[in-house]
């Protein structure tokens, strides 16, 4: 005979399962239609979870979308390879892979667009951005501590100089996010510029192998 505790455990699991279903459905719908296609009606219809249940867990559509997007931020960890250049290469290679393949990479433009017109969605946005920037900031902080980057490093500009080019290729120029590109962007930040390699000095981004 089920005890009171086991009944309550079953109920908890049912709640958890239905929440997961709703979150998964929301995220799927986001990838298919963008934020404009998201309504609680449609999510209820698709997920089979009652609207009243959905509203019990999330007060507004924004709350639900924020929650559905929150795992976007959990996909990256700060690597620790022993060098600044190594760490950046691993992290940006990973980010490039995610930008090429992860479903959130087709969701993000929809959120960027929606935030442009509806500031109430800013929380979704800054959550995603903090998620992208956090492991990079960890790496930069470590490099500053270890003397691999200067004390007065402008961390925020450095994040933009590393992530920006990858985002640009993914959503704007739509050019390949390949290894050559990632290495050029990393070397642009970390590259030693010795007098003997003057040309590459000017052109962090250029390959110095022909000099």
């Amino acid at each position: 005979m089920p005890t009171h505790n086991s009944i309550s455990r079953d109920a908890d699991q049912r709640v958890r399962r239905s929440k997961e279903t709703v979150l998964r459905t929301t995220f799927e719908l986001l990838t298919e239609t963008g934020l404009d296609g998201i309504s609680i009606d449609e999510i209820a219809r698709r997920s089979g979870v009652a609207k009243t249940t959905i509203y019990r867990h999330w007060q507004t559509r924004s709350d639900l979308v924020i929650d559905a997007c929150s795992h976007i931020t959990a996909e990256q960890e700060a690597p620790d390879t022993g060098s600044f250049e190594g760490d950046l290469t691993v992290l940006l290679t990973n980010l490039a892979e995610l930008l090429r393949t992860a479903r959130w990479s087709s969701v993000l433009p929809s959120i960027v667009d929606a935030v442009e017109r509806d500031p109430s969605l800013a929380e979704i946005h800054s959550r995603i951005q903090r998620g992208h920037a956090a492991p990079l900031r960890t790496i930069i902080d470590r490099a500053v501590r270890m003397g691999e980057a200067p004390q007065n490093t402008d961390r925020s500009a450095m994040v933009a100089a590393l992530v920006g080019p990858l985002f640009y290729r993914r959503w704007f120029s739509r050019e390949p996010l390949d290894e050559v590109f990632v290495k050029a962007i990393v070397r642009n930040i970390t590259g030693e510029r010795e007098p003997s390699a003057a040309l590459s000095a000017v052109a962090p981004i250029a390959a110095p192998q022909d000099q």
Copy 2:
């Protein structure tokens, strides 16, 4: 008494005016609602130009949107200050200003999002991107010719390293697009890294001044 020619000239002007009205209305609607809010019906209603007239000039909604967006590409010219760093600084300062103020900067995310889901809109997209990149490529080509950038400069990666960080701040991190940031991004590409000027040299974004 009007001649046949002056009648035809009047007709030409009427056509030109109504085309301009439709294009202006389309662009206004884009800034307000994004691409999802654009329909020929709505444009006809707002502009007062008949749908049949609109369809005479533009076969599809995409054709019209492409045309309405086409002036986005005409806003920048390649400066010629006499140095690579000077040219880049002028161009990126100008781009930062446009990103902060121009109405197309709130339209672009909507187009990026739409292209993600509808490849038939790719022409709008690549037209806008070519427009952004063209003056930058002119400057880079000149720098290569003048020996200010190496012969083997990866032009496309360099464009991404210059434009990407600005786009990142405008639409993703939403941090200030100010002079300090623009200079950091430019110096990151052109900066000579002399031992004597270690801090400022590297510091835009990174720096080996401790080496």
